[in-house]
C-alpha cells in the first residue's frame, strides 16, 4: 500500500488520527487491503501528507489494538484482518453509518424529498 492511498483532510472536524483509522477499516473491510499487505511506514505517511508522525503512530497503534494490523519486526505493519464473507455486508454498511446519518440530516434540513435524494445517490453509486 502506498501513502497516497490515504486521504487526509486537516481542517475536518474529525481528528487526523481517526481519519486514518477509519480509512484503514474501510480499505480492509472492502478488500482493497489484503491479508499480509504492508502499510507504508509512519515516516512515509507523515512525509507524503506533511502531517505529524505521532498522529500516524497513534492511528497505527489503534489499528493494531483493534486487530486490523500487526507489527512485524523489521518490516512494519501488516494487515491481518480480512474481509469475512457472510457478515461482511452489514459490517461494511456499518462503516458508512455516520456519513449516512449526516447525509440524511442535511437532506432533511434542505427539505428534499427522499425520492430525489435516492435517485441522485443511485446514479452516483452506479458510476
Amino acid at each position: 500500500m502506498d501513502a497516497s492511498v490515504l486521504t487526509i483532510q486537516p481542517s475536518a472536524s474529525e481528528p487526523i488520527y481517526r481519519q486514518i483509522v477509519e480509512q484503514l477499516r474501510r480499505l480492509i473491510a472492502g478488500g482493497q487491503l489484503a491479508h499480509g499487505e504492508l502499510l507504508p511506514s509512519v515516516r512515509e505517511v507523515a512525509g507524503f501528507h506533511a502531517i505529524n508522525p505521532m498522529t500516524v503512530s497513534r492511528a497505527y497503534g489503534i489499528a493494531e489494538s483493534e486487530g486490523l494490523v500487526e507489527r512485524l519486526r523489521g518490516k512494519g505493519m501488516a494487515v491481518i484482518a480480512t474481509r469475512k464473507s457472510g457478515e461482511s455486508e452489514s459490517h461494511r454498511l456499518a462503516l458508512l453509518e455516520s456519513q449516512l446519518q449526516a447525509l440524511a440530516r442535511q437532506a432533511n434540513e434542505l427539505e428534499l424529498p427522499a425520492a430525489s435524494v435516492l435517485r441522485r445517490l443511485t446514479k452516483l453509486l452506479g458510476e
Binding site: 486537516p10 481542517s11 472536524s13 488520527y17 515516516r43 507523515a46 512525509g47 506533511a50 505529524n52 508522525p53
Partner: protein, 297 residues
Amino acid sequence: MNAMLRETGIAVAPLAARGLVHSYDGSTVLNGVDLVLPPGSVLGLIGRNGAGKSTLIRAMLGLFKPQGGEATVFGEPALTLSDATKARIAYVPQQPDALAWLTVRQMLDFVGRFYPRWDEAFVQNTLTRWQIPSNKLLAKLSPGERQRVDLIRALASQPELLVLDEPAAALDPFARRELLREVALRGGESGTTVLFSTHIVSDLERVASHIALLQWGKVRLHCSVDETKERYARLWLPAHLGSAAPAHAISQRRHDDGSLSLVVERDAQGQWPRASQLAGARIDVLGLEDLFVAIAA
C-alpha cells in the same frame, strides 16, 4: 520526590515561560503567560493580529527583558544563554534583517561555520527548489525571499529547538507544504522541538501536536490538536432557550435574533452540557479554524 520530578520536568523543557508580563506604551501585551514545551512537541501558537505572539516568542527566547516573569531555554535563563545552548536553537523572525550586506551564499557560508551539524546538501537543494538567487544581496531580496533564506538557514543548522514566527506568510503553497513536511519529519524523528506562530490554522492542524491560543495577554487554550477537536464544540441555542445556557462556557456570543452561540467543553464523563439535549438546541463539532473564530470573536 515530587519536587525532584518537577525540577527535572522544568529543567529539560526546551522552552518554558512562567508568569510573563509585558506592556508597551501602557497597553498590556502579556498578562501572566505560562507555557511549557516538552521535548519533541510541535506547538502552534495562534492568536489574532496584535495578540502578542511575536512578543511572547521574543520574550521566551530572551531577546528582550519582559517586565515580569521568567523564561528558560533548555533550563538556562533565557536572558543569559550560553553559547552552547544558543547553538542548539534556530529562530526565524517575521522580518529577518541581519547581515543584509552579504549575498545569500556568503551569509549561509558564514553562518554555517558556527554550527557543528550544518547540512550543506540541504542548503543547496532547497535554494534551488525554492528558486532563490544565491548571488543576490540579502538587502535586495523581497521580504518573502528574505524569510525563505532565513528558513533555510534555520533548518540547515539542524537545531534541537526551532522557533518560527509566522513562517507561512512568505511562502507560496508549494514551499509552505515543503516547510511543513520538514517540520513534521524533524519533530517526529530527530525529536526537534518546534514552536511556530501562524494564523493559517490548517497548517497547524497538519503538523502541530499541540496548540496554544493567545488572547488578552494570556494563554486561553493549550492542549493537543486531537483533544481540541474532540473536547470542544459549538452549542447553538435559539432565543427562547437563552436562559438554559450553561454558565461555564468558554465563550458566548448573542446573535441579532437573540439566539446564542457558545463554545462548550465535554464534562469528565465525556458528555456535552445538558442544554444541548433540549429540543431546538444544536451541537456543531468544529474544525480548529471555526473553533478559534468562535472563541476569539
